[in-house]
Each structure stands twice: as C-alpha cells, then as structure tokens.
Symmetry: C2
Subunit: 264 residues, 2 copies
C-alpha cells in the first residue's frame, strides 16, 4: 500500500521546517504558505498543526515536549519519499523545531538515508518581534533572547546569562517565561535584573500577540508581577536608555533609541 | 493643490513602518504587502524603496544615514493626511527605521499633530534569521544581536558587550559588521571573542541572503577573515556547544542544540 506522494526510491521526499509566524496568516510568508501547500505531511505540536491552512495533507499532531520524536518521525517520513513540513510557531530557528531536526540528524544512530533528505528551513517572524512591533521599537538597539526554561540547561546558567546581559545593558527578551511546571523562574530572573537595572526600566508582556485574544502590557521592572505572564507570553525588559512615549488613553509606546551613552 | 489621498484635516493619514524582510517577495508578509499597496507614499533608503512592488505610490527615496530626517518627513506627510509606509529591509524593529520614527516622535519639538498620527509597525524576517535558516539552526539556543557600528555608541561599549556576551556563552549575531568608513571593527570584535572562545567555534557569514547574489560562508573563529564580510553581511558566531553536520559537496550545516551543559 502506497500513500499519495510516496515514491519507492524515496528520491522525491523532502523536509522543510516551516515558521508559521506568531499567529495570523497575515504574518505567514508566501514561502511558508507554498511549502505547506506542497507538503504531503504536516508534523508538529497540535496547536501549530491546527493553524496550517486547510488542505489534503496528512496531519501528524503530537504533544508538547516531544520535539526529538517529532523530528525523527519527520526525517523518517521524508526518507520514505514524503514531502514533510515540520511546523513551528514564530521562527523555527528561534527556540523552536529547527534545532530539534538537526539534533535528530546529528545522532550517530541516524540512518544514512536521513542525510540524503533535502532539508530546508523557512524563517518566520518570532514572538519577540511581534510583541516589539505592537509596543513600539524596544528591540531597536543591541538585545538578547534567553529561554527561561531550565528543562534543557541548568538554572545557574540562566541566572548567569541574565546577570551578564544586564551588565552588558542589552534589551532582554525572555522566551518560555513561565509554565505550571516552572512557576518561579520568571520572578527569579526579575530579581536578578533588579540588582542591576532601575525600577523604572520598562517591561513589556506580549501575550499571544497576533491571536484574537492578544494582550499587551507595558509596566516596569519595579511593578511587574510574574503572574501577569503565562506560557504564551514573551517578556521584553528594556535597556537603561529604553524610553516611553505617552499616548492618550492607551499604553505608552516603548522604544530603545539607536544612540547610546553608557549610564553615569 | 492637493495630492491624491490628502485630506485637509489630516484625519485619514497614517504611518506604518513596514518590514520588507531580507530580500525576496517570498519573505514579504501579507500584512506588509497590503500596507504598501494602501499607502500613498513610500519613504525610505533608496535600495529598499526600489524593492517595493510596483504601484502608483509616490516614492521618497533618500540616502543612507539620514534616518531621522526620513522619519520626520514621514511623520509630517502622515500628519498632512497622507498614508505613509516607511520601509526597512528585514524587521524594522531590529537595527532599523522603527526606532528612528519613535525618536522623531519623542523629540520635544515634535508638532502635536505628529502624536495624533495612527502609527503601526509591521514586523518582518530579520537578516540574522535568514542567514540562520540557510545555515541550519545556529540561533536555536540563547543568543544576542549586536550592531558593530560605532556611529551611535562608543566603541568601548561595543567591546564590553562582545566580551560579556562571550562570557555568557551566547550565540552572537553581528549587524553592520563592516563598511568603508568602519573597516577594522569586525576584526577587533573577533579578537575579543578569540580571548574567550575556541578557534573551532563556527562562524557564519550570510551575505545578501535572499537576494539573487546571496552567499553563505561557514568558517571558524580561528580562520575567519573580516575581509570576507561586507555591508550586506550578517555575521553569526556560535556558542561553545554549536555544532557542525558535514554535507556531501556543500558547506556543513550549523546548529546550536537546545540542550546546554556549561563547558568544562
């Protein structure tokens, strides 16, 4: 029995890791849309698979936190001749599925056929960029992006990075700030920052930006409550020279000037 | 005399800072395409204005390094009732025009009418994301983005940040690595990194990625020559655990695993 699109020699298969952007199809690139349409199989975390525009593709939706299994499944399908789109929210290259696919490929136990699969990555708009756009231009100067998940790295590495990033006076974007299994990490990261940065430092919480229920909060390092964030939030903490512009009846704009003078 | 779309009361004007992505229309979001089509005026650096799909819009192309003038012109046009798209390559929020527009708005001398202009930012795929996608997944773990231009910040701030970023073991993306007026900065940044990172550390040079003449070089911190970069290059330097996967007849894939153990 042969599924549609399968070739016995596997020669026609490919694997593309596709960034869906942060939410709406309005941020889905033409490249990503075309690769999704040409795929025979969609592989990904359930909520992302659900966001793929309707089509005849076979959908392999999986649970969260099984990225490597998903990557292996995708490589195996492509090696069999399927045209496989592995989908990620945002940019698949930023804390997402692209690294997992290369980890699976780099496993010494990976079949040689996997190395012959034509492999590509379609970049996309990442969550911090969407939140930044809604808030103004907080990422307009040097910045860093740190995942607060300590599932895959020791917490001491996270705090050390947060401290060095604060000393470097980077704008900081936190991915994976909080979850039921990791309730205290964001508060601990704010505590580290408070030792270096002023309480007035602008803090942006961008929740599900681009989705119908998106929410943007502009607050400060002194006032922010970690409970204002959830799994779908990206947190951006300003640098010492990040500024606010008041707006009538709305949250202020937040931007980081391109010019920099070190704080006195 | 009234140009098309002008309203005497200025009520219909708007200003949107539009990210064109790194090059091809394949990476231009539907949102950006629509806003460009609805604009009466396109404002931007000449080569970016040239990339806007053909249409009846008035094109105000300006020279490089006049970002603030351009931002003021755009705000003034929008306050007069024009529908203005300020265009940037990549993501306008990342080392690009969005910050300049907010700087112009934040000037105490800015007319009150500028504050009434409906203002939006359309995010886009930034150059480091395009280069990362072509190379594999080098940004798959914590990373930072640093502009090497010392036009707007003291060089000591740049070197301090590069050193702290290396100590934090971030993957590092360098924007504006080199130009005729700034020929030595990239080499100096590599020298700082060589004091902390191993010579085998992967280095990616992504030149004009997405354009017809794009070029991707994968090399190492020990071997890289700053002369391999130019104004249209983004440079990505790996973290201590960034890895290579050999490919037959092509440059190796570069990826940074999601899992991290601090180097011994």
């Amino acid at each position: 029995m042969s599924a549609p699109g399968t070739k016995a020699d596997g020669a026609s298969g490919w694997l593309t890791v596709v960034g869906l952007g942060p939410g709406p199809e309005d941020w889905l690139t033409p490249e990503a849309r075309r690769d999704l349409a040409e795929a025979t199989d969609i592989v990904g975390y359930g909520p992302y698979v659900d966001r793929v525009p309707p089509g005849p593709q076979i959908r392999h939706a999986s649970d969260n936190r099984v990225e490597l299994d998903r990557a292996r499944q995708a490589l195996a399908l492509a090696a069999e001749g399927r045209r496989v789109a592995v989908v990620s929210g945002g940019d698949p290259g930023v804390f997402a599925m692209a690294a997992a696919v290369f980890e699976a490929l780099d496993d010494p136990a990976a079949p040689a056929a996997w190395h012959r699969v034509p492999l590509r990555v379609d970049p996309g708009v990442s969550a911090m960029q969407a939140a930044a756009a809604r808030a103004g231009a907080p990422l307009g100067h040097d910045f860093c992006a740190i995942s607060l998940s300590d599932n895959l790295k020791p917490w001491e590495v996270v705090t050390r990075r947060v401290r060095l990033a604060a000393e470097a006076d980077f704008v900081i974007a936190f991915y994976n700030p909080i979850s039921r299994a990791r309730p205290w990490q964001l508060g601990a990261a704010f505590d580290v920052l408070r030792e270096v940065r002023a309480p007035e430092t602008p803090v942006i919480l961008g929740q599900a930006i681009g989705r119908p229920d998106e929410k943007l909060i502009v607050t400060s390092l002194g006032a922010v409550d970690p409970a204002q964030a959830d799994m779908r939030t990206v947190v951006i903490v300003g640098a010492s020279h990040t500024r606010l512009i008041p707006r009538d009846g709305r949250q202020p704009w937040v931007y980081t000037p391109r010019s920099y003078r070190a704080p006195a």
